[in-house]
Symmetry: C2
Subunit: 146 residues, 2 copies
DNA sequence: TGCAGATATTTTATACTTGAAATAAATTCT
DNA sequence: AGAATTTATTTCAAGTATAAAATATCTGCA
């Protein structure tokens, strides 16, 4: 006998939360011990790596779906470590373009390789067909994306 | 042509993060405006609602997959609002049993109803078969669980 | 031109989160 | 019993996160 649709949806949600929290715990730990870094920093660097010309603060927070003020702090720390730099945008003195420094790009490359490996392990139970299924389903969850 | 398995797994992971962050943003906002509460508080209350006799601090943090110290703070605030209470465990003076107060249980019931509705909306795109698929797939992600 | 409103970002206050250290109490092992 | 270890929880320092207020700049339009 199948549950009511709302209950079933709730179940999916709770299961998703649980799986994600577990995987994140592993990633966080790995980033910490191998790179002395954190997930939020990795996320920011990852976004910047995909946009080599850099991103505005607001673009960054939109892509990561986190608040503006949040990004300010993370970028500040990354800048302090010399991994990213903020450059004035000419034509708009309000805006800031953030991009990886060469050191940052290099460092990110190492982290990304390791990260991909960790995720590969965590999702090793799934074959290509199942992954395709998951993608298709997840793409319909929430709204648009990237 | 299909990507390499590791890349495909990474794609699934990123998509899952994105969907979840989006849904969480909605929930957080809803909890804030309707109940002047937060997601972590809701999570704690939800766990306690399923265990009416209460849970130890350590059981609570294990169920929620968050650190001990984290739970201390959230429970403290909930206790301040009169929604949970901490009682000494007899036979073990180190331990604390946390449980919903009557007010807390009542309040949680309202929140849970609303929460289920919000999730139902967010996942409204999926029918029963798809939800079943999702559950089965998600259950194999990460390790065991609840 | 000049200003009303829109944008981009930072700042602030508060809450959440972790990992590690500190307490305190129970258990184990002589 | 008494010391060493383990277990339950809190405290702490630092980082992450949000929403809202504050700044600074830009844009459109009377």
């Amino acid at each position: 006998m199948s549950r009511s649709l709302p209950k079933q949806r709730l179940r999916v949600w709770l299961r998703m939360l649980s799986a994600q929290r577990e995987i994140e715990t592993g990633l966080r730990e790995a980033l910490r011990v191998k790179f002395d870094s954190t997930l939020p920093r990795f996320d920011v660097m990852s976004a910047l790596d995909r946009y080599r010309d850099g991103l505005r603060m607001s673009e960054l927070s939109a892509k990561l779906k986190v608040s503006n003020g949040n990004v300010t702090g993370i970028v500040e720390r990354l800048a302090g470590e010399g991994l990213v730099e903020r450059v004035a945008v000419d034509g708009d003195r309000r805006a800031m373009q953030v991009r990886l420094t060469p050191t940052g790009a290099e460092r990110f490359a190492e982290m990304a390789t390791a990260h991909e490996g960790w995720i590969d392990e965590q999702l090793s139970a799934f074959d290509s067909d199942e992954l395709e299924q998951l993608i298709r389903l997840l793409e319909r969850m929430g709204g648009e994306n990237a």
